[in-house]
């Protein structure tokens, strides 16, 4: 039961309905706007999440280098205070815009919506949002993305997924990053995959190392296939 503001004074206990009393209502509303906009404009939107330092920006740089001649890619990057990551991505040859969250530990759909207004989206095929580095808060905020991709580095624990179940539950693809370091660490891809798939049996898994280039072709081919898939689906319904 939703109570009209004009109705007579509320007394006693009021039972609330789920949709208008969800604390994520405002975010989810903006996320739907984003989803509609990127669909109309034929843009694939990817939300990249991980703990701080797992290699998101480095992956954006490598992805930009390989894909910039094949399609039009742009990056929005969330950061607590600085503009450094956007500069690194621009050096790789694609447009990047920093979303400074001013201390907020996650991006909300509203912030992405405002940032999308500040860049030219005409002709863009692939838009990345590099989220703030943390696996807790960003998990709860839908940004209207087509796919959520989570990095977990070999320098982290391979039992990490179960500590952050919501993130792995809501992700479509897990990239095991810094795989060049595997020989030196106790981390195994099998263990992290099992931990993550206990939560999300549908999760896709790929191994990458941005520094050596391992797995980056496979990742880029995955992206190209998803861009194509979305554009073809749009062409059919148009």
């Amino acid at each position: 039961m939703s109570v009209e503001k004009s109705s007579k004074a509320a007394r006693g206990t009021v039972q609330c309905d789920n949709s208008s009393f969800s604390l994520l209502k405002a975010n989810d509303f903006m996320a739907e706007n984003i989803r509609k906009t990127v669909k109309e404009k034929n843009i694939l939107l990817i939300n990249i999440t991980s703990s701080a330092g797992s290699g998101k920006t480095t992956l954006m740089q490598e992805t930009a280098k390989r894909l910039k001649d094949k399609l039009k890619m742009k990056v929005l990057v969330g950061d607590l205070e600085t503009e450094r990551d956007a500069d690194r991505i621009k050096e790789a040859g694609v447009e990047a815009l920093q979303i400074v969250t001013g201390g907020i530990c996650h991006l909300e759909a509203q912030m992405v919506w405002q940032a999308m207004d500040q860049i030219d989206l005409e002709g863009v095929d692939l838009l990345f949002v590099e989220n703030v580095g943390n696996l807790v808060c960003p998990a709860s905020f839908d940004l209207g993305e087509d796919y959520r991709v989570t990095l977990i580095a070999t320098t982290e624990g391979d039992d990490k997924p179960k500590k952050y179940p919501r993130m792995f539950l809501t992700s479509d693809l897990m990239l095991v990053s810094k795989c060049d370091l595997l020989p030196y660490l106790p981390f195994t891809v099998e263990a992290v995959t099992k931990d993550a798939r206990d939560i999300n049996p549908d999760l896709e898994v790929m191994e990458i190392a941005s520094t050596s280039g391992q797995g980056i072709d496979e990742w880029c081919n995955w992206l190209l296939a998803k861009v194509k898939e979305k554009q073809e689906a749009k062409a059919v319904t148009a």
Binding site: V3, K5, L23, S140, R166
Partner: protein, 115 residues
């Protein structure tokens, strides 16, 4: 953590749904929070106290947090089961990520003075 922004969302939601006169008579807010919502009840209580004091609002209201477990419904056999130890499967052992409870983050009930 995002507790402070969640508390502000509680306030905004209540202000959207109820009049100022009603809210002056608010005595309690019951939240329903899924185990997957990444909300730490103690931190939420602290955030609630901090925000009510700084904004000088809803000072009489008591916050209760009802944490509910994660339930999955199996698309294969229809079984509904509670997820334990973050092993997402039904009672018959079929893996599934079809969560039907555990992600909620909502105001379930609000209480006002009776008179």
């Amino acid at each position: 953590m995002h507790e402070i922004s969640l508390v502000r969302n509680i306030f905004n939601t209540l202000e959207d749904e109820f009049s100022k006169e009603d809210l002056d008579r608010l005595t309690g807010i019951d939240l329903k929070v899924g185990l997957l919502a990444n909300v730490e009840p103690t931190l939420m209580q602290n955030a609630f106290e901090a925000v009510t004091e700084t904004e000088n609002k809803f000072l009489k209201a008591k916050l209760s947090i009802n944490v509910v477990p994660i339930l999955v419904e199996c698309p294969l056999c229809g079984d509904v089961a509670e997820v334990k130890n973050y092993l997402f499967q039904c009672g018959n052992g079929h893996p599934t990520n079809n969560v039907i409870q555990g992600e909620e983050l909502l105001i379930e009930r609000v209480h006002f003075q009776e008179d």
